[in-house]
Structures are given as structure tokens and as C-alpha cells.
Symmetry: C2
Subunit: 174 residues, 2 copies
Amino acid sequence: MKRIGLWLAVVATVAGVVVPTAIEAQQPTEEAAPVFVKKIPPGYRDWRLITVAQERGELNDIRAVLGNDKAIKAYRAGTLPFPEGTIIARLAYDYVPSEENNKVFGRPQSFVAGPPKNGVQFMVKDSKKYAATGGWGYAQFDDGKPADDAMLKTCFPCHEAVKSRDYVFSRYSP
Amino acid sequence: MKRIGLWLAVVATVAGVVVPTAIEAQQPTEEAAPVFVKKIPPGYRDWRLITVAQERGELNDIRAVLGNDKAIKAYRAGTLPFPEGTIIARLAYDYVPSEENNKVFGRPQSFVAGPPKNGVQFMVKDSKKYAATGGWGYAQFDDGKPADDAMLKTCFPCHEAVKSRDYVFSRYSP
């Protein structure tokens, strides 16, 4: 019994290492990729504006929401769900009072964007790849580095609140 | 004397009507145009983002500042003064709390863009045409209609405060 138990343990250990490797080698890269977006979509800073927003509390930022061409086209046409390949980007900046502007206005009323804050976030539409999270892959990059999966798992549960708008909070500003 | 006076009055009146018409016919349209921008620059809603800001007080808006290609190129390169043809657009929206977002966050912290508010404003760089106002023509359109000159005359005196940045308040957000 002792010997059999040992052999089973060895077999299980080897299988545990070898089998996933074999599967990874057989399947295309997409299948092996994590369910979250780990690469920054190129050129996003040149995308067009969807809307702006401001968060107080711990976030304390002012933000712009940009969209790639597919996103802007869908927003303007009122297309729901968003088409495959849609990407929405959320850029956030420190929310800071502008002493310079306030002097000109003669009263404290002006807030501007400070340095980037709270990372850059993305929603990428791929109904097959991200089927488990409403067809959207979620991403956040802090100083260019992708957030870990534990953080990204918190995205979808909140976005489910706006399932009727294909899980997208931001509305288009004309 | 009476007759001469009458004749002078007639000549002056006729001249007052006829002479400007003759000048208008001879000179290009630009020369006869007012010193403020009276036509909405086409396609501005597709321009790229410069930055975002928020104004409290009477304005109570949240805003995006967009730039045409020349503006974005100059901002990114740190070019001052801005080149001829630069146009900067300021789009403002009602600053409204988002009940929808606050429910998801579980606390009141989220503000979004409501309907357009406080007009759409532009600064157009043309050093010759707008020489009297630092080389920038100012414009505001409320529901597509240009603001009157009295309102537009209030732009330049404030912008003089940032003469060292070529009269432009907005800084580029990365």
C-alpha cells in the first residue's frame, strides 16, 4: 500500500505538470490567454471622445472616456449590443483645484486634470473570448503594467448593473 | 450755407452706404469679417482630447477640451506659440450626480455629463486676422448660434493672464 500510494503521488505530480503543458502546445494562443486584457490597445490616446465624468471619494479623479472607431460609430447610431472589436478606454487624472484659473475668475470654482491617476482602463468586446463576462474583456494598466486578475474580477459584477446597455455605463455626450 | 450743409449731409450719407459696399466688393471676405469667429469649425466633435476640467459656481459644468491636428501636434511637441491654423474647442456639459453609478458604488461620489451647457467655445489661431487679440479669434456658439461681440470681447482680457502660454489655459493631459 505504501508503494502504491507513492506511485500514485508521483504519477499525479507528473501529470499535474505535464498535461497542461501538452494542452497549451496543442491549442491556439487565444485559448490559453487569461480572460482579461493584458495588452494596452495601441493608439488609444488618439481615439475620439465619448464623454467625461468625475469621481469623488477615494477615487477623486476627473476622467475622459474615449472610444475606437467601432465604439464611436455604435454610440452615434445607438447600436446595441456594441459590435465585435469595440474598445472603450477610461483615462483618469487627479482632480485638482486650479489656482491659476481661480485667480482669473476671482473665486474658487475651477478644477482641472492633474497627473494620470487610478490607471487606464479598457473594455474590449469579443463575445467568444470573453463570453463569461458578458462579452467584454476588462483591463487596467497602472504605469503601463496590467492589473492582476483579482482586481479585474471586480469589474464585471458592477457592470452587470447596466446589462441593458450592454454592460457599458458611459453615455455618449454630443 | 444751408445748401452746402445739406449737400455735405447727402454726400456723407451716400458715401456711408456706398463706400463700404465698394470696399467689400474689392476685398476678400476675410478682411470684411468681424474679429470674432462666427462659423463653427467643421468636424470639431471628431478632434482628439487635450484635457478635461470642471467648473463650479454659476457655470457648474464638466468639460472636455479638444484640438484639431495642429493643436494636438503642438501640445505634444511643446510648441509655443501655437502654429497658424491651430483650433482649440471647449465642449461643456451639465455637471450632474449619477444616481445609477452611486447605487453601484454604494455611496454618492459619481458625477457625469448631462446635456450640453454654456455653449461650445473655440480659439482659432490666425496671427494677422486676430492680431488685436493675441493672434487668437474667439467664438462661442449656443445651440449653433454665434454669441454676440459684447460677450466675445470678454474672452481676451481673461486669456491675457496666460500670455506666456500663448494665451491658452488648458494644459495637455497624457
